[in-house]
Protein backbone atom coordinates (compact mmCIF):
# COMPACT_ATOMS: atom_id res chain seq x y z
CA UNK A 1 0.00 0.00 0.00
CA UNK A 2 2.75 2.38 1.01
CA UNK A 3 4.71 1.33 -2.04
CA UNK A 4 1.72 2.20 -4.21
CA UNK A 5 1.20 5.66 -2.75
CA UNK A 6 4.89 6.41 -3.09
CA UNK A 7 4.69 5.39 -6.73
CA UNK A 8 1.70 7.63 -7.34
CA UNK A 9 3.46 10.60 -5.71
CA UNK A 10 6.46 9.90 -7.90
CA UNK A 11 4.45 9.84 -11.08
CA UNK A 12 2.48 12.96 -10.12
CA UNK A 13 5.78 14.74 -9.59
CA UNK A 14 7.07 13.50 -12.90
CA UNK A 15 3.99 14.79 -14.72
CA UNK A 16 4.49 18.15 -13.04
CA UNK A 17 8.07 18.25 -14.25
CA UNK A 18 7.04 17.41 -17.79
CA UNK A 19 4.42 20.18 -17.70
CA UNK A 20 6.96 22.70 -16.48
CA UNK A 21 9.37 21.59 -19.19
CA UNK A 22 6.69 22.18 -21.81
CA UNK A 23 6.19 25.64 -20.38
CA UNK A 24 9.92 26.40 -20.36
CA UNK A 25 10.94 25.17 -23.80
CA UNK A 26 7.57 24.96 -25.59
CA UNK A 27 7.69 28.59 -26.75
CA UNK A 28 11.19 28.06 -28.15
CA UNK A 29 10.17 24.96 -30.08
CA UNK A 30 7.15 26.83 -31.38
CA UNK A 31 9.36 29.67 -32.56
CA UNK A 32 11.68 27.19 -34.24
CA UNK A 33 8.82 25.53 -36.08
CA UNK A 34 7.41 28.89 -37.21
CA UNK A 35 10.78 29.89 -38.57
CA UNK A 36 10.47 27.04 -41.09
CA UNK A 37 6.89 27.75 -42.15
CA UNK A 38 5.54 30.48 -44.39
CA UNK A 39 3.27 33.13 -42.96
CA UNK A 40 0.25 31.84 -44.86
CA UNK A 41 0.84 28.34 -43.48
CA UNK A 42 1.10 29.81 -39.99
CA UNK A 43 -2.07 31.85 -40.44
CA UNK A 44 -4.06 28.75 -41.31
CA UNK A 45 -2.87 26.94 -38.19
CA UNK A 46 -0.68 28.66 -35.66
CA UNK A 47 0.46 25.68 -33.66
CA UNK A 48 1.05 23.05 -36.32
CA UNK A 49 4.47 21.57 -36.97
CA UNK A 50 6.07 22.28 -40.35
CA UNK A 51 4.96 19.99 -43.23
CA UNK A 52 7.72 21.00 -45.55
CA UNK A 53 10.79 22.63 -44.16
CA UNK A 54 11.20 26.00 -45.87
CA UNK A 55 14.92 26.37 -45.34
CA UNK A 56 15.03 29.03 -48.05
CA UNK A 57 13.52 31.47 -45.54
CA UNK A 58 16.83 31.56 -43.69
CA UNK A 59 18.65 32.42 -46.88
CA UNK A 60 16.03 35.03 -47.67
CA UNK A 61 16.36 36.75 -44.27
CA UNK A 62 20.14 36.44 -44.34
CA UNK A 63 20.65 37.88 -47.81
CA UNK A 64 17.68 40.19 -48.40
CA UNK A 65 16.77 41.55 -44.99
CA UNK A 66 20.25 42.54 -43.92
CA UNK A 67 20.60 39.79 -41.34
CA UNK A 68 24.08 38.93 -42.58
CA UNK A 69 25.06 42.49 -41.74
CA UNK A 70 23.52 42.43 -38.25
CA UNK A 71 25.06 39.03 -37.61
CA UNK A 72 28.62 40.06 -38.42
CA UNK A 73 28.23 43.30 -36.48
CA UNK A 74 27.22 41.27 -33.44
CA UNK A 75 30.11 38.87 -33.99
CA UNK A 76 32.55 41.76 -34.23
CA UNK A 77 31.31 43.63 -31.17
CA UNK A 78 30.94 40.58 -28.95
CA UNK A 79 34.23 38.90 -29.93
CA UNK A 80 36.35 42.04 -29.66
CA UNK A 81 34.90 42.95 -26.28
CA UNK A 82 35.32 39.41 -24.97
CA UNK A 83 38.97 39.23 -26.03
CA UNK A 84 39.91 42.63 -24.65
CA UNK A 85 37.99 41.94 -21.44
CA UNK A 86 39.66 38.63 -20.80
CA UNK A 87 43.18 40.02 -21.34
CA UNK A 88 42.70 43.15 -19.24
CA UNK A 89 40.59 41.33 -16.65
CA UNK A 90 43.02 38.45 -16.26
CA UNK A 91 45.99 40.78 -15.81
CA UNK A 92 44.19 42.89 -13.23
CA UNK A 93 42.64 39.88 -11.49
CA UNK A 94 46.00 38.13 -11.29
CA UNK A 95 47.70 41.19 -9.89
CA UNK A 96 44.98 41.92 -7.33
CA UNK A 97 45.04 38.31 -6.16
CA UNK A 98 48.82 37.95 -5.98
CA UNK A 99 50.39 41.30 -5.03
CA UNK A 100 49.36 42.63 -1.61
CA UNK A 101 50.11 46.29 -2.36
CA UNK A 102 48.60 49.26 -0.54
CA UNK A 103 45.15 50.07 -1.93
CA UNK A 104 44.71 46.60 -3.40
CA UNK A 105 41.34 45.93 -1.76
CA UNK A 106 40.18 49.49 -2.46
CA UNK A 107 40.77 49.01 -6.18
CA UNK A 108 39.05 45.62 -6.17
CA UNK A 109 35.94 46.77 -4.32
CA UNK A 110 35.71 50.01 -6.28
CA UNK A 111 35.53 48.11 -9.54
CA UNK A 112 33.46 45.22 -8.19
CA UNK A 113 30.82 47.44 -6.58
CA UNK A 114 29.83 48.93 -9.95
CA UNK A 115 28.22 45.57 -10.68
CA UNK A 116 24.98 46.87 -9.19
CA UNK A 117 24.92 50.20 -11.07
CA UNK A 118 21.71 50.71 -13.02
CA UNK A 119 22.65 51.25 -16.68
CA UNK A 120 20.70 54.52 -16.82
CA UNK A 121 23.24 56.19 -14.54
CA UNK A 122 25.87 55.84 -17.29
CA UNK A 123 23.96 55.54 -20.55
CA UNK A 124 23.01 59.20 -21.03
CA UNK A 125 26.48 60.54 -20.35
CA UNK A 126 28.11 57.76 -22.37
CA UNK A 127 25.90 58.94 -25.22
CA UNK A 128 27.20 62.50 -24.75
CA UNK A 129 30.80 61.34 -24.43
CA UNK A 130 30.68 59.17 -27.55
CA UNK A 131 29.08 62.01 -29.54
CA UNK A 132 31.82 64.34 -28.38
CA UNK A 133 34.63 62.04 -29.50
CA UNK A 134 33.02 60.97 -32.77
CA UNK A 135 32.37 57.45 -31.52
CA UNK A 136 28.59 57.67 -31.45
CA UNK A 137 26.91 55.27 -33.87
CA UNK A 138 30.14 53.29 -34.37
CA UNK A 139 30.85 49.68 -33.51
CA UNK A 140 34.10 50.78 -31.86
CA UNK A 141 32.19 53.02 -29.46
CA UNK A 142 29.75 50.26 -28.58
CA UNK A 143 32.64 47.82 -28.03
CA UNK A 144 34.35 50.23 -25.64
CA UNK A 145 31.15 50.67 -23.66
CA UNK A 146 30.66 46.91 -23.47
CA UNK A 147 34.17 46.47 -22.11
CA UNK A 148 33.36 48.93 -19.35
CA UNK A 149 30.03 47.28 -18.56
CA UNK A 150 31.38 43.73 -18.22
CA UNK A 151 34.61 44.58 -16.42
CA UNK A 152 33.32 44.14 -12.82
CA UNK A 153 31.96 40.60 -13.23
CA UNK A 154 35.04 39.58 -15.25
CA UNK A 155 37.39 40.85 -12.60
CA UNK A 156 35.33 39.32 -9.80
CA UNK A 157 35.40 35.81 -11.28
CA UNK A 158 39.04 35.86 -12.37
CA UNK A 159 40.37 37.39 -9.16
CA UNK A 160 38.50 34.75 -7.18
CA UNK A 161 40.08 31.99 -9.23
CA UNK A 162 43.64 33.30 -9.10
CA UNK A 163 43.29 33.64 -5.36
CA UNK A 164 42.67 29.90 -4.98
CA UNK A 165 45.86 28.88 -6.77
CA UNK A 166 48.44 27.88 -4.11
CA UNK A 167 51.15 30.45 -3.74
CA UNK A 168 53.95 27.86 -3.59
CA UNK A 169 53.54 27.31 -7.29
CA UNK A 170 54.40 30.92 -8.06
CA UNK A 171 57.23 31.00 -5.53
CA UNK A 172 58.76 27.95 -7.14
CA UNK A 173 58.63 29.62 -10.53
CA UNK A 174 60.25 32.68 -9.05
CA UNK A 175 63.12 30.60 -7.67
CA UNK A 176 63.53 29.07 -11.11
CA UNK A 177 64.20 32.59 -12.35
CA UNK A 178 60.95 33.46 -14.11
CA UNK A 179 60.07 37.15 -14.37
CA UNK A 180 56.75 38.57 -13.18
CA UNK A 181 55.14 38.65 -16.59
CA UNK A 182 56.43 35.20 -17.46
CA UNK A 183 54.93 33.76 -14.30
CA UNK A 184 51.57 35.25 -15.24
CA UNK A 185 51.77 34.14 -18.85
CA UNK A 186 53.33 30.66 -18.46
CA UNK A 187 51.85 29.57 -15.13
CA UNK A 188 48.98 31.74 -13.92
CA UNK A 189 47.02 31.97 -17.13
CA UNK A 190 47.21 28.28 -18.17
CA UNK A 191 46.07 27.18 -14.72
CA UNK A 192 43.25 29.70 -14.78
CA UNK A 193 42.00 28.41 -18.16
CA UNK A 194 38.71 27.02 -16.75
CA UNK A 195 37.83 30.41 -15.26
CA UNK A 196 38.99 32.21 -18.40
CA UNK A 197 36.72 30.07 -20.57
CA UNK A 198 33.81 30.57 -18.15
CA UNK A 199 34.26 34.32 -18.26
CA UNK A 200 34.51 34.35 -22.04
CA UNK A 201 31.30 32.37 -22.49
CA UNK A 202 29.42 34.45 -19.94
CA UNK A 203 30.48 37.75 -21.49
CA UNK A 204 29.84 36.54 -25.01
CA UNK A 205 26.26 35.51 -24.32
CA UNK A 206 25.42 38.62 -22.31
CA UNK A 207 26.87 40.92 -24.96
CA UNK A 208 25.37 38.96 -27.85
CA UNK A 209 21.96 39.62 -26.30
CA UNK A 210 22.61 43.17 -25.05
CA UNK A 211 19.92 45.67 -26.01
CA UNK A 212 19.81 48.89 -23.95
CA UNK A 213 23.25 50.33 -24.70
CA UNK A 214 22.98 49.25 -28.34
CA UNK A 215 19.62 50.92 -28.87
CA UNK A 216 20.94 54.19 -27.45
CA UNK A 217 24.38 54.21 -29.04
CA UNK A 218 23.65 52.83 -32.53
CA UNK A 219 21.27 54.48 -34.99
CA UNK A 220 22.17 53.59 -38.56
CA UNK A 221 20.91 50.38 -40.09
CA UNK A 222 24.27 49.09 -41.33
CA UNK A 223 25.70 49.23 -37.78
CA UNK A 224 22.85 47.45 -35.99
CA UNK A 225 23.62 44.40 -33.90
CA UNK A 226 21.28 41.40 -34.03
CA UNK A 227 18.92 42.38 -31.17
CA UNK A 228 18.39 45.77 -32.82
CA UNK A 229 17.99 44.17 -36.23
CA UNK A 230 15.38 41.73 -34.97
CA UNK A 231 13.49 44.52 -33.23
CA UNK A 232 13.55 46.71 -36.33
CA UNK A 233 12.43 43.83 -38.53
CA UNK A 234 9.56 43.17 -36.12
CA UNK A 235 8.53 46.82 -36.44
CA UNK A 236 8.72 46.87 -40.24
CA UNK A 237 7.27 43.47 -41.10
CA UNK A 238 4.84 43.21 -38.22
CA UNK A 239 2.36 40.98 -40.04
CA UNK A 240 4.95 38.72 -41.69
CA UNK A 241 5.14 36.50 -38.61
CA UNK A 242 6.96 33.70 -40.42
CA UNK A 243 9.87 35.88 -41.47
CA UNK A 244 10.08 37.58 -38.06
CA UNK A 245 10.39 34.11 -36.52
CA UNK A 246 13.14 33.21 -39.00
CA UNK A 247 15.05 36.37 -38.12
CA UNK A 248 14.66 35.70 -34.40
CA UNK A 249 15.97 32.16 -34.92
CA UNK A 250 19.04 33.46 -36.74
CA UNK A 251 19.85 35.54 -33.69
CA UNK A 252 19.56 32.67 -31.21
CA UNK A 253 20.99 29.78 -33.25
CA UNK A 254 24.62 30.55 -32.29
CA UNK A 255 23.66 30.53 -28.63
CA UNK A 256 21.73 27.27 -29.02
CA UNK A 257 24.63 25.59 -30.81
CA UNK A 258 27.06 26.72 -28.13
CA UNK A 259 24.63 25.51 -25.47
CA UNK A 260 24.31 22.09 -27.12
CA UNK A 261 28.07 21.58 -26.89
CA UNK A 262 28.97 23.33 -23.65
CA UNK A 263 25.76 23.23 -21.60
CA UNK A 264 27.50 22.58 -18.28
CA UNK A 265 30.14 25.22 -18.87
CA UNK A 266 27.53 27.78 -19.88
CA UNK A 267 25.29 27.09 -16.90
CA UNK A 268 28.34 27.37 -14.66
CA UNK A 269 29.38 30.64 -16.28
CA UNK A 270 25.98 32.27 -16.14
CA UNK A 271 25.52 31.44 -12.46
CA UNK A 272 29.12 32.23 -11.52
CA UNK A 273 28.19 35.65 -10.20
CA UNK A 274 25.51 34.26 -7.89
CA UNK A 275 27.22 31.23 -6.37
CA UNK A 276 29.78 32.20 -3.84
Amino acid sequence: MKQLSRLSVRSALFILLVLYTAYAIGPLIWLGSMSLRTTSEIDSSHYALPNTFHWWKFHEAWANSNYNNYFWNSVFVATTSVLVLVVIGAMAGYCLARYPFRGNRAVFFAIFSTIMLPPQITVISLFQILVKYGLFDTLTGLTLVYIGVQMPITLYILEGFFKRIPRDLFDAAKIDGYGDFEIFWRIGLPIAMPAVVTVMILNFILLWNEFLYAVVLITSDEKRTLPLGVQKFMGDQFSDIGMVATGAMISIIPVIIAYAFFSEKIIQGMTAGAVK
Partner: protein, 301 residues
Protein backbone atom coordinates in the same frame (compact mmCIF):
# COMPACT_ATOMS: atom_id res chain seq x y z
CA UNK B 1 56.89 35.42 5.39
CA UNK B 2 54.77 38.54 5.37
CA UNK B 3 57.78 40.84 5.87
CA UNK B 4 59.51 39.21 2.95
CA UNK B 5 56.39 39.73 0.92
CA UNK B 6 55.94 43.38 1.76
CA UNK B 7 59.55 44.18 0.95
CA UNK B 8 59.08 42.47 -2.35
CA UNK B 9 56.00 44.45 -3.30
CA UNK B 10 57.81 47.76 -2.74
CA UNK B 11 59.98 47.45 -5.79
CA UNK B 12 57.09 46.21 -7.86
CA UNK B 13 54.96 49.25 -8.47
CA UNK B 14 55.81 49.37 -12.20
CA UNK B 15 54.65 45.76 -12.59
CA UNK B 16 51.52 46.40 -10.58
CA UNK B 17 50.72 49.50 -12.63
CA UNK B 18 51.22 47.53 -15.83
CA UNK B 19 48.89 44.74 -14.70
CA UNK B 20 46.10 46.76 -13.09
CA UNK B 21 46.52 49.94 -15.14
CA UNK B 22 44.40 49.05 -18.19
CA UNK B 23 41.46 47.80 -16.11
CA UNK B 24 41.64 50.81 -13.82
CA UNK B 25 41.85 53.21 -16.74
CA UNK B 26 38.84 51.61 -18.41
CA UNK B 27 36.98 51.73 -15.12
CA UNK B 28 37.68 55.42 -14.64
CA UNK B 29 36.88 56.46 -18.21
CA UNK B 30 33.89 54.21 -18.85
CA UNK B 31 32.25 54.00 -15.44
CA UNK B 32 33.36 56.61 -12.91
CA UNK B 33 33.49 59.51 -15.33
CA UNK B 34 30.03 58.82 -16.84
CA UNK B 35 28.48 58.34 -13.39
CA UNK B 36 29.89 61.64 -12.14
CA UNK B 37 28.89 63.36 -15.37
CA UNK B 38 25.30 62.13 -15.00
CA UNK B 39 25.09 63.44 -11.44
CA UNK B 40 26.63 66.74 -12.54
CA UNK B 41 24.26 67.00 -15.53
CA UNK B 42 21.24 66.55 -13.30
CA UNK B 43 21.69 70.15 -12.12
CA UNK B 44 21.53 71.51 -15.66
CA UNK B 45 19.11 71.95 -18.47
CA UNK B 46 20.82 70.51 -21.54
CA UNK B 47 19.28 71.16 -24.92
CA UNK B 48 20.95 70.50 -28.26
CA UNK B 49 22.76 73.47 -29.78
CA UNK B 50 22.40 75.44 -26.52
CA UNK B 51 24.92 75.86 -23.76
CA UNK B 52 23.92 73.86 -20.68
CA UNK B 53 22.12 76.14 -18.22
CA UNK B 54 22.62 75.64 -14.50
CA UNK B 55 19.25 75.32 -12.76
CA UNK B 56 20.19 74.01 -9.31
CA UNK B 57 17.72 71.58 -7.73
CA UNK B 58 14.92 72.39 -10.18
CA UNK B 59 15.04 68.99 -11.89
CA UNK B 60 14.65 67.28 -8.55
CA UNK B 61 11.79 69.57 -7.54
CA UNK B 62 10.03 68.82 -10.82
CA UNK B 63 10.61 65.11 -10.25
CA UNK B 64 8.85 65.19 -6.89
CA UNK B 65 5.61 66.26 -8.54
CA UNK B 66 6.00 64.23 -11.75
CA UNK B 67 3.08 61.80 -11.66
CA UNK B 68 4.47 59.61 -14.42
CA UNK B 69 7.71 59.19 -12.50
CA UNK B 70 5.89 58.01 -9.37
CA UNK B 71 3.82 55.60 -11.44
CA UNK B 72 7.05 54.26 -12.90
CA UNK B 73 8.51 53.86 -9.41
CA UNK B 74 5.40 51.99 -8.28
CA UNK B 75 5.51 49.58 -11.21
CA UNK B 76 9.23 48.98 -10.85
CA UNK B 77 8.89 48.28 -7.13
CA UNK B 78 5.99 45.87 -7.69
CA UNK B 79 8.09 44.09 -10.29
CA UNK B 80 11.22 44.03 -8.13
CA UNK B 81 9.37 42.70 -5.09
CA UNK B 82 7.05 40.15 -6.72
CA UNK B 83 9.12 38.63 -9.52
CA UNK B 84 12.17 37.53 -7.44
CA UNK B 85 9.92 35.86 -4.85
CA UNK B 86 8.02 33.91 -7.52
CA UNK B 87 11.25 32.95 -9.27
CA UNK B 88 13.06 31.81 -6.14
CA UNK B 89 10.10 29.85 -4.74
CA UNK B 90 9.47 28.12 -8.05
CA UNK B 91 13.19 27.54 -8.55
CA UNK B 92 13.57 26.01 -5.09
CA UNK B 93 10.59 23.69 -5.52
CA UNK B 94 11.91 22.47 -8.86
CA UNK B 95 15.40 22.05 -7.43
CA UNK B 96 14.12 19.87 -4.61
CA UNK B 97 12.10 17.85 -7.10
CA UNK B 98 15.11 17.13 -9.26
CA UNK B 99 17.15 16.41 -6.17
CA UNK B 100 14.57 13.80 -5.19
CA UNK B 101 16.07 11.84 -8.07
CA UNK B 102 13.45 12.36 -10.70
CA UNK B 103 14.38 10.46 -13.86
CA UNK B 104 16.04 12.49 -16.63
CA UNK B 105 17.33 15.06 -14.14
CA UNK B 106 20.14 16.17 -16.42
CA UNK B 107 17.83 16.75 -19.36
CA UNK B 108 15.41 18.80 -17.24
CA UNK B 109 18.26 20.93 -15.93
CA UNK B 110 19.45 21.84 -19.41
CA UNK B 111 15.93 22.43 -20.73
CA UNK B 112 14.85 24.61 -17.83
CA UNK B 113 17.90 26.79 -18.00
CA UNK B 114 17.55 27.55 -21.72
CA UNK B 115 15.22 30.60 -21.41
CA UNK B 116 18.00 32.39 -19.50
CA UNK B 117 20.14 32.35 -22.63
CA UNK B 118 17.58 33.77 -25.05
CA UNK B 119 17.83 37.50 -25.76
CA UNK B 120 15.07 39.73 -24.42
CA UNK B 121 14.17 40.85 -27.93
CA UNK B 122 13.32 37.31 -28.99
CA UNK B 123 11.60 36.53 -25.69
CA UNK B 124 9.51 39.69 -26.06
CA UNK B 125 8.43 38.90 -29.62
CA UNK B 126 7.59 35.31 -28.76
CA UNK B 127 5.48 36.28 -25.78
CA UNK B 128 3.65 39.09 -27.50
CA UNK B 129 2.52 36.40 -29.94
CA UNK B 130 1.51 34.07 -27.12
CA UNK B 131 -0.55 36.94 -25.70
CA UNK B 132 -2.15 37.75 -29.08
CA UNK B 133 -5.89 38.19 -28.71
CA UNK B 134 -7.03 36.15 -31.72
CA UNK B 135 -4.58 33.29 -31.94
CA UNK B 136 -2.26 33.58 -28.94
CA UNK B 137 -1.84 30.40 -26.92
CA UNK B 138 -3.13 31.97 -23.70
CA UNK B 139 -6.52 32.88 -25.16
CA UNK B 140 -6.63 29.70 -27.24
CA UNK B 141 -6.13 27.75 -24.02
CA UNK B 142 -8.95 29.61 -22.31
CA UNK B 143 -11.24 28.90 -25.26
CA UNK B 144 -10.33 25.23 -25.12
CA UNK B 145 -11.31 25.18 -21.44
CA UNK B 146 -14.63 26.90 -22.27
CA UNK B 147 -13.57 30.00 -20.37
CA UNK B 148 -14.21 32.46 -23.20
CA UNK B 149 -15.21 35.08 -20.64
CA UNK B 150 -11.66 35.30 -19.31
CA UNK B 151 -10.15 36.07 -22.70
CA UNK B 152 -8.60 39.45 -22.98
CA UNK B 153 -5.96 41.44 -24.73
CA UNK B 154 -3.38 40.75 -22.05
CA UNK B 155 -0.88 43.41 -23.09
CA UNK B 156 -3.52 45.86 -24.25
CA UNK B 157 -5.40 46.41 -21.00
CA UNK B 158 -3.95 48.55 -18.22
CA UNK B 159 -5.20 46.10 -15.59
CA UNK B 160 -3.31 43.07 -16.87
CA UNK B 161 -0.34 44.39 -18.85
CA UNK B 162 2.12 44.70 -15.96
CA UNK B 163 1.31 41.22 -14.65
CA UNK B 164 1.58 39.77 -18.14
CA UNK B 165 5.10 41.20 -18.34
CA UNK B 166 6.02 39.85 -14.91
CA UNK B 167 4.94 36.36 -16.01
CA UNK B 168 7.37 36.61 -18.93
CA UNK B 169 10.12 37.70 -16.59
CA UNK B 170 9.43 34.75 -14.30
CA UNK B 171 9.47 32.44 -17.33
CA UNK B 172 12.90 33.70 -18.31
CA UNK B 173 14.60 33.66 -14.91
CA UNK B 174 13.21 30.71 -12.93
CA UNK B 175 15.76 28.39 -14.52
CA UNK B 176 18.58 30.54 -13.20
CA UNK B 177 17.37 30.35 -9.61
CA UNK B 178 16.70 26.66 -10.00
CA UNK B 179 20.32 25.94 -10.94
CA UNK B 180 21.71 27.95 -8.05
CA UNK B 181 19.29 26.30 -5.59
CA UNK B 182 20.14 22.88 -6.95
CA UNK B 183 23.85 23.44 -6.38
CA UNK B 184 23.07 24.60 -2.85
CA UNK B 185 20.81 21.61 -2.09
CA UNK B 186 23.53 19.26 -3.28
CA UNK B 187 25.88 21.00 -0.87
CA UNK B 188 23.73 20.17 2.15
CA UNK B 189 25.14 17.52 4.48
CA UNK B 190 23.71 14.14 3.52
CA UNK B 191 23.17 13.06 7.16
CA UNK B 192 20.69 15.82 7.88
CA UNK B 193 18.42 14.86 5.02
CA UNK B 194 18.73 11.17 5.85
CA UNK B 195 17.87 11.73 9.49
CA UNK B 196 14.80 13.70 8.43
CA UNK B 197 13.84 10.76 6.25
CA UNK B 198 14.09 8.45 9.28
CA UNK B 199 11.88 10.78 11.28
CA UNK B 200 9.31 10.21 8.57
CA UNK B 201 9.34 13.84 7.63
CA UNK B 202 7.19 14.46 4.55
CA UNK B 203 8.35 15.98 1.33
CA UNK B 204 6.98 19.44 2.08
CA UNK B 205 8.07 19.21 5.68
CA UNK B 206 11.60 18.48 4.56
CA UNK B 207 11.60 21.62 2.43
CA UNK B 208 10.08 23.80 5.11
CA UNK B 209 11.99 22.57 8.15
CA UNK B 210 15.37 21.71 6.66
CA UNK B 211 16.04 22.98 3.19
CA UNK B 212 14.77 26.55 3.59
CA UNK B 213 16.51 27.33 6.90
CA UNK B 214 19.78 25.75 5.81
CA UNK B 215 19.75 27.48 2.45
CA UNK B 216 18.69 30.83 3.90
CA UNK B 217 21.91 32.65 2.95
CA UNK B 218 21.68 31.43 -0.66
CA UNK B 219 17.98 32.22 -0.93
CA UNK B 220 18.40 35.69 0.51
CA UNK B 221 21.33 36.29 -1.81
CA UNK B 222 19.18 35.29 -4.79
CA UNK B 223 16.32 37.52 -3.67
CA UNK B 224 18.62 40.51 -3.32
CA UNK B 225 20.28 39.77 -6.66
CA UNK B 226 16.85 39.48 -8.28
CA UNK B 227 15.62 42.65 -6.62
CA UNK B 228 18.57 44.72 -7.81
CA UNK B 229 18.28 43.21 -11.30
CA UNK B 230 14.56 43.99 -11.61
CA UNK B 231 15.07 47.56 -10.45
CA UNK B 232 16.79 48.02 -13.83
CA UNK B 233 14.18 46.28 -15.98
CA UNK B 234 14.03 47.80 -19.45
CA UNK B 235 14.30 45.50 -22.46
CA UNK B 236 11.14 43.48 -21.98
CA UNK B 237 8.96 46.52 -21.35
CA UNK B 238 10.46 48.56 -24.12
CA UNK B 239 9.93 45.91 -26.77
CA UNK B 240 6.55 44.58 -25.64
CA UNK B 241 4.57 47.63 -24.50
CA UNK B 242 6.84 50.71 -24.51
CA UNK B 243 5.36 51.50 -21.10
CA UNK B 244 1.76 51.49 -22.33
CA UNK B 245 -1.16 51.18 -22.37
CA UNK B 246 -1.87 54.39 -20.44
CA UNK B 247 1.48 54.24 -18.56
CA UNK B 248 0.38 50.98 -16.96
CA UNK B 249 3.77 49.30 -17.54
CA UNK B 250 6.02 52.34 -17.38
CA UNK B 251 9.18 51.56 -15.40
CA UNK B 252 11.88 53.92 -14.23
CA UNK B 253 14.28 52.72 -16.92
CA UNK B 254 11.83 53.15 -19.78
CA UNK B 255 10.85 56.58 -18.48
CA UNK B 256 14.49 57.69 -18.37
CA UNK B 257 14.94 56.45 -21.91
CA UNK B 258 11.79 58.23 -23.12
CA UNK B 259 12.70 61.52 -21.52
CA UNK B 260 16.25 61.37 -22.85
CA UNK B 261 15.90 60.03 -26.36
CA UNK B 262 12.29 59.53 -27.34
CA UNK B 263 10.25 62.57 -26.43
CA UNK B 264 10.82 65.87 -28.13
CA UNK B 265 11.53 67.60 -24.85
CA UNK B 266 15.20 67.33 -25.91
CA UNK B 267 16.48 67.94 -22.42
CA UNK B 268 19.11 65.55 -21.10
CA UNK B 269 19.29 67.15 -17.65
CA UNK B 270 15.96 65.89 -16.35
CA UNK B 271 16.49 62.20 -17.20
CA UNK B 272 19.91 62.47 -15.57
CA UNK B 273 18.07 63.63 -12.45
CA UNK B 274 15.81 60.57 -12.57
CA UNK B 275 18.80 58.28 -13.07
CA UNK B 276 20.61 59.85 -10.13
CA UNK B 277 17.63 59.45 -7.80
CA UNK B 278 17.19 55.84 -8.87
CA UNK B 279 20.88 55.10 -8.45
CA UNK B 280 20.72 56.48 -4.91
CA UNK B 281 17.61 54.39 -4.21
CA UNK B 282 19.26 51.16 -5.35
CA UNK B 283 22.40 51.96 -3.40
CA UNK B 284 20.33 52.58 -0.29
CA UNK B 285 18.44 49.30 -0.69
CA UNK B 286 21.66 47.32 -1.12
CA UNK B 287 23.22 48.90 1.97
CA UNK B 288 20.02 48.28 3.92
CA UNK B 289 19.83 44.62 2.86
CA UNK B 290 23.45 43.88 3.64
CA UNK B 291 23.33 45.47 7.09
CA UNK B 292 20.00 43.87 8.03
CA UNK B 293 21.02 40.41 6.91
CA UNK B 294 24.48 40.67 8.40
CA UNK B 295 22.89 41.61 11.71
CA UNK B 296 20.62 38.59 11.57
CA UNK B 297 23.45 36.26 10.71
CA UNK B 298 25.33 37.52 13.74
CA UNK B 299 22.35 36.78 15.97
CA UNK B 300 22.10 33.24 14.71
CA UNK B 301 25.63 32.24 15.60
Amino acid sequence: MSIWYRRESNGQWPIIALFVGPALLGYILLTIYPVLLTIYNSFFEIRPRNAAAFIGWKNYAALASDRTFWLAVRHTLIWALVAPVLEVVLGLLLAVTIYARAPLGRFFRVAWFSPVLISYVVVAIMWSWLYNYDWGLVNAGLRALNLEGLQRSWLGEPGTALWALIVVDVWKWTGFHLIVCLAAVHGLPQEVIESAEMDNCGWLGKIYFIVVPMLAPTLIGLLVLGFVGKMKVFDLVWIMTQGGPLWSTETVSTYVYKRAFDWNTFDLGYPCGIATVWFAAILLCVILFTTVFRQREKLEY
